[in-house]
């Protein structure tokens, strides 16, 4: 029982962080149609920026977070303006490759600046263990779940209630119609990339708190793909569910089956889902016209 609870908490924590990263990915895809392979790198950039703000500049962590958010927004907007705008109208494979190229470049830049040694993030999430129902649970996981839930809630509220959020949903639904309603699609694209970069940064910081600041943060970002397939790209709720499922699945497999299977089980699940429901568990069917 204790094992089960520990695995569940750990899985929920990883899953919540994944959901956070996946939300950014989904925002970009829905609003601009771009498959952003650099989401993991955005996470790593965010983590490293917070690390360097705390460790090298000596700033307190709220300031560090703001700094990292600013850098993330700059990277996101820069990507949209200089790399993706020239790619409008190109085939899907070209857009995928351009984001892959960006991912490599960002990772290389981080490696150049910080080296490859894993670094310890100054823990601004309280460490230590709590006893709940007699089971020792790590504090930082619980706090991570809470923080991720908070941010996801904020993003959801943004989409539901704010003007810009509704405008973004309009663009995601039908670009032409949104343009005719006077929505500036260009601004929406920039906003989408900005929000995605910030959520990625937050996800990256949470991951780095748990496992240290290194290139592995970007690898964690690869799991975004099974999450968006499971959860579909059409709703925040779906993404959250998808993230939690993937996080829990990995931990349960590691805990009860082991043998490296946990690395590949999300992808096996993915293939099954795609065979049955090509647009994901919660996705909407796309209608294609010639």
């Amino acid at each position: 029982m204790q094992t089960f609870i520990q695995l569940t908490v750990s899985g929920l924590a990883n899953g919540a962080i994944l959901a956070l990263a996946a939300v950014g990915f989904a925002i970009i895809f829905k609003a601009t149609g771009v498959i952003n392979f650099a989401q993991g790198s955005f996470m790593a950039v965010g983590a490293y920026m917070v690390y360097t703000a705390i460790a090298d500049f000596g700033w307190p962590w709220p300031v560090a977070l703001v700094f990292a958010a600013a850098v993330a927004i700059a990277v996101g907007l820069g990507t949209e303006r200089f790399i993706l705008r020239p790619m409008v109208g190109e085939s899907a494979i070209s857009v995928i490759m351009v984001t892959i190229g960006l991912a490599f470049f960002l990772e290389a830049a981080l490696q150049f600046q910080f080296g490859t040694r894993p670094l310890r993030m100054a823990p601004f999430i309280p460490e230590g263990t709590v006893q709940i129902l007699g089971v020792p649970l790590p504090m930082n996981r619980l706090v991570a779940i809470g923080l991720a839930a908070l941010v996801l809630g904020a993003v959801g509220a943004f989409f539901r209630f704010s003007r810009n959020g509704i405008a973004m949903r309009a663009v995601a639904d039908d670009q032409q119609a949104a343009l005719t309603m006077g929505i500036s699609v260009r601004r929406i694209f920039a906003m989408a990339w900005g929000i995605a970069a910030v959520t990625a940064m937050l996800a990256g910081v949470l991951v780095a708190n748990i496992q240290g600041v290194s290139g592995n943060v970007a690898l964690f970002g690869l799991l975004v793909f099974p999450v968006v397939i499971l959860g579909g790209l059409d709703s925040i709720g779906g993404t959250i569910v998808g993230g939690l499922i993937v996080g829990l699945l990995i931990q349960y497999t590691a805990g009860y089956l082991g043998g490296g299977l946990q690395q590949v089980i999300p992808y096996i699940l993915l293939v099954f889902i795609l065979m049955v429901r090509p647009y994901g568990l919660f996705g909407e069917v796309r209608i294609e016209r010639v």
Binding site: E90, I96, L106, E107, F112, I229, G260, L261
Partner: protein, 347 residues
């Protein structure tokens, strides 16, 4: 001569591989270059040339699938692994002669490709990319952990094959079968797209729904595309398996991305593009390394940070090519030819 176009007056001349004098001359120059290279290159560059040869075969395969048929595939590394392990295991466990093992590996990889092609029928774009990504991870997992394949060992070392009585040890001897296979692959690829099958594949890429309305059987041609492409890739994998020790690290996600980079930088939908892209991408890290060595005295940081620089250059090259010349090196070559052909006019 060709400024006003190439006109044929009979079928024979139209069916020739090279239409104009200039094209034929360049072809012969290329042939001479390929024949002379192993005699003038140092051993290090010869091994690079061998790697380029294998990469050409794989790149042509991937281009058939992605460039000509429009099916995104991130699972290249996995299929290379299938080809390598099949061929290696057939030789090591069943003792089959190398040539037979390679042919069987090609056929088996094609079958596996067709198998993966079936679920791909319903997927497009993002979903197809993610599904092929999944296939990449699943194949590598199997190859690393399935007892039947690994038998507890971490790598498979295939005994050196023999060809016409020569044992293939050393880059010089390997050059000939590798380049021969690359030439064969090029001719096959080129001819594929002069045939009806090739035209059907391109129709699938351009407008698959309209193509099916015109009578192109989507299922048949998509699966065929996966099969043919995987066959080429299986050949590249099988050659790798015999040329070097088989370890799973040769077939990871980064290899898949490298191959995609080759066809993007080279030019989607072009056999020449596959060749140019393969040469460019394989030379990039080695070239950077030589550059780092030569500037070591002045800029030691370059060597110290070489892996980061190689990665960064790889990323930047892809981005720049896609922004400024999305149709790749093949298009740049075409433009160069046109420039000389039409000079002093601009078009």
């Amino acid at each position: 001569m060709t400024t006003t176009g190439v006109y044929h007056t009979n079928y024979r001349s139209e069916l020739r591989l090279r239409h104009t004098r200039a094209e034929q001359v360049r072809l012969w120059m290329a042939v001479v270059l390929v024949l002379l290279l192993p005699f003038v290159l140092s051993p290090f560059w010869l091994s690079v040339a061998n790697r380029i040869g294998i990469a050409i075969i794989g790149a042509i395969g991937l281009n058939i699938l992605t460039g000509f048929t429009g099916q995104i595939s991130l699972g290249q590394g996995g299929f290379l692994a299938v080809g390598a392990y099949t061929s290696g295991l057939l030789v090591v466990r069943l003792g089959l002669p190398t040539l037979v093992a390679i042919l069987l590996a090609v056929a088996f990889t094609a079958m596996v490709g067709a198998l993966f092609g079936i679920p791909a029928l319903r997927l497009k774009g993002l979903y197809l990319a993610i599904a092929t990504l999944a296939s990449q991870f699943i194949i590598i997992y199997l190859v690393r952990n399935w007892e039947f394949i690994t038998q507890g060992r971490d790598s498979i070392s295939v005994p050196r094959p023999e060809l016409f009585g020569f044992v293939l040890i050393g880059d010089f001897r390997w050059y000939w079968p590798i380049m021969g296979s690359a030439v064969l692959a090029t001719i096959l690829g080129r001819n594929l797209f002069r045939s009806g099958i090739g035209r059907a594949l391109m129709a699938v890429r351009d407008q698959d729904i309209a193509a099916s309305a015109l009578g192109v059987n989507l299922t048949k041609y998509k699966v065929m595309s996966f099969a043919i492409s995987s066959g080429f890739v299986g050949l590249a994998g099988a050659l790798t398996g015999h040329y070097r020790i088989i370890t799973w690290e040769r077939f990871g996600l980064n290899v898949s991305i490298e191959y995609l980079a080759m066809i993007i930088v080279g030019g989607l939908g072009s056999i020449l593009g596959s060749i140019l892209g393969a040469i460019f991408i394989v030379l990039l890290p080695s070239g950077l390394e030589q550059f780092a060595i030569s500037v070591r005295g002045v800029f030691p940081q370059v060597t110290a940070q070489l892996p980061a620089l190689q990665l960064a250059t790889f990323g930047i090259v892809i981005i720049l090519f896609l922004i400024f010349e999305p149709r790749g090196l093949a298009r740049m070559w075409q433009r160069t030819k046109d420039y000389f052909r039409l000079w002093p006019f601009r078009y």
